[in-house]
Symmetry: D2
Subunit: 297 residues, 4 copies
């Protein structure tokens, strides 16, 4: 079965995802709030049609994919006009790293118009999107996932059915909350050992051969912190949002999750201190400032 | 140069370390508080002499190695009689996972008797001790480390000079504080996603292919938590102590380290709730109790 | 102007509030989930009519007052049948210690039926309810507050207009989160000083003459903790809920509030450990257990 | 019995304490690191002799009183020369807000020279020092306290024997840790309610009539925060130090005290962000910055 697909939101991750959909031969319509990004995109070069509005893109598709900063952006996009534009029997695949509560509200509104919904946030970064090796975490009905699986395969290396609507968002959020916590805690550990006279490079080397290691310590600190490089690959503002979603799920479920709550608060502080453009690993700079040191080596 | 070596403390890690020293042909005297453990040890079988007292063992050696639960045990062992038993020009190698402040006091007392000191905690567990692949983290003077390096090589796969006295203890402590935090935070993450409908096995699988992974999530949770096996390999009481040391270093140095402080408090609570014999991974049981769930799958 | 008033929820606080409304001469209809509590109530003895159902009570009144454990109880009560029973032009005064988000949803549903809403949680306890000296924190339109002010005055000593819908709930929640935090932190302080050799009664006496004092230290600890009396006046389960609401407001607003988050998590743990019937001050028992002491004197 | 008294450390609190000792007719010798402060002091005007060195002051007295920023300042003052200057049978009364561990070391050194020690930190601020109404928290032997009680009465309104050496310091530290926590948590509460639409002045007014009130909310916030006055009466750097002492006592005693630990970390951060001269209530400015608001009204 051939689908017509709409892709809304050509950000750092969305743009290469759309490019892969175009390259896979899907009939693709794209839209982006800043229209210039759509017409200049690799997807457009690859044959995607640029829609003049989100509503026009939605109206043209059986499968609508959104990839926006937050769930509230998705909700804001789906005003009455946009909701009315969905074809009956179509499906919204929300690749936003969003929150389960908002997704459940969106899904209800769509269901009233006979439109299905799955949340489908991705991990793997820009590199994974370009390579088509993203992990896609899907929340929603299995039948809905199966309908869109061939489309997701254009950019997915792994597709995981996580549970009901919102389950994909929840899983993405807790993974990123752990990332946030590990970045911060590793910085605290290096600075604390440094206060006892240990060079950060030595501490990191030993941790990475021992039980305290994490993706943060093995991949982010050697390349980005000790070098002082701090490349901007994933915005702290987005990691702050993800950690907040994870902490919010625990809070709303009346679950005591003190480490996730602390991670969320520390990310909120770092985001406030470092601004909108800072990379997520730059949260380490706040630890450095508070501890009056630099973790280079 | 041939050394006479004394090894004090034949616990879970100490016993195989001593066995390797005996096997390497060092003139070895061993002692353990519970004397039966010494005479029944593999080291004794391998030729080590069992001393009737710690003082006798100390008096017989150029190199004294201690491997006790805490620094205060080392300090308690080194009463005036024991201190007087050290040979002038000898060295104490403290393999205890101890704390820098106590080690500095011990080192001062020994220096007044012309005895050198290095702290040399190890990582790698019982498996590493048996295989002789432990990582040894050494704090103290380089010259002192070089004197004992041939002896350490009997059980070490890697020897790292970390800095001045206490630096080895500090590095071991912060590594273990990270381990403690990651065990706890991964449990919170699995339980929070579970509250949003995601099976813990799925969450763990995705995290382990993504940015939130750690040694805890990759090695401990699949084999020990999801299976419910919880083997007893490293006591929670000791991890509690290590996390407390790391948090104490930060506190004494006036460094704000909120994630290390929280890790230490959560370990203290878990230790209190689960008792002296619980394994460190069983801290997860406290998260499970507070969140009214079990993380099996 | 004379109002007909319905009062739904005759719990520990609700019952004396209703009794005061009856005594003040309002035409009062009462309802309680457990019907026996309504017919046996002081309000009924004072002339209130006992309604056979919530819907019947709602249908009989211009002013409907709810006083339930949580906002979700209010939302659950207001099913379609109950919503349809409201008289056009009537008003719901929700004295529940609820949460702003749920109240805003409830208010929207009522507004669609031309029914006004104010949130109006109270403080002052059972004593204040009996004496008619409660502080009432009102969120909603001023005009709506003025309509019901004469009715609130039956049990209020002080009526405070806090802001828009939900503002009353928010203020009640943050006050109670502070109470929760202060109960816990005072226990930690007494136990920590005790570890340094200070009798809890001495610590409390000095704190209460100094800058660390709070309502918790001045009123709750002398009478309830040091005596071991722990009377049951306000359930920990409810304080847990209030602290969770406060922490949730901060989280949803992306505000880093680490002390409120920690207070909420500690209350959740204490609630889990001590059960549904424990008094809020009994949270101290968890601190005592973790610190292996008793704060008596 | 008439005593000769030395007073070392004429800071904000020490200066009026010394002045009261002079006015009470004690034979008083004073010393201050910045000598000009001593000669220009009210105590000097009242008849106190200005010593040329700490050692000279110590040598001249039966009772030596220290009032310095931290215990390490006291320890640094008491070098070998100064220790040798103490008269046998004399006593050191340390009014510093110090830490128990350092005080125990100091006491040991003094005991070896037949000099007694009591820790005797004070609360009540400059106002209390001028008025002679300070609360003095004494750790040490009862007999030692009785020896110096007539001298303490020159500036004390209340003298409390807290326990053994260090008990006074511990009590002072936990009181101030509570103060620190309550300042911060009240700011979080006001900002959180503000996010739900409640004016900070209204929130504060209701809290102060309700169960969440504290010395911070009743005395500090109305006069200093809502007005924006932030007078400099007690340095944040000192409150940071006190909170760190309290948290350190708990940590060293292996007691989980998460709220005290968090208070200490937040004070360390605020101290780092606001500098050495900031007043303790200015910690609220950090909450305001993180929450992007101002708590005025």
């Amino acid at each position: 079965m051939s689908h017509s697909v709409a892709f809304l939101g050509l950000g750092a991750i969305g743009a290469p995802m759309a490019a892969r959909l175009a390259a896979a031969g899907h009939a693709l319509t794209i839209w982006n709030r800043t229209a210039g990004r759509a017409s200049a995109s690799e997807a457009a070069a690859g044959g995607a049609r640029v829609a003049p509005s989100a509503t026009a893109a939605i109206a043209a598709a059986d499968v609508v994919i959104t990839c926006l900063p937050e769930s509230r952006d998705v909700a804001a996009l789906l005003d009455e006009t946009a909701l009315d534009a969905f074809r009956a029997g179509s499906i919204l695949v929300d690749c936003t790293s969003g929150d389960p509560a908002t997704s459940r509200v969106i899904a209800q509104r769509l269901a009233a118009r006979d439109v299905a919904f799955v949340d489908a946030p991705v991990s793997g970064g820009v590199v994974g999107a370009v390579a088509g090796t993203l992990t896609v975490m899907v929340g929603g009905e299995s039948a809905h996932l199966e309908r869109v699986r061939p489309i997701l395969e254009a950019f997915a290396g792994k597709i995981v059915h996580c549970g009901a609507i919102g389950a994909g968002h929840a899983l993405k959020a807790v993974n990123n909350a752990l990332l946030a916590l590990h970045v911060w805690s590793t910085a605290e550990a290096l600075a604390t050992a440094q206060a006892a006279g240990v060079d950060p490079a030595i501490t990191l080397d030993v941790i990475n051969a021992s039980s305290g290691r994490s993706n943060a310590s093995m991949n982010l600190f050697p390349e980005r912190v000790l070098t002082g490089a701090f490349p901007r690959t994933f915005r702290l503002a987005l990691l702050d949002k993800d950690a907040r979603i994870a902490a919010g799920i625990a809070r709303d479920a009346a679950l005591p999750a003190p480490t996730l709550q602390l991670a969320a608060d520390l990310m909120a502080v770092a985001h406030r201190e470092l601004g909108e453009e800072a990379d997520h690993v730059e949260a380490v700079r706040v630890v450095e400032r508070w501890m009056r040191t630099e973790l280079r080596g």
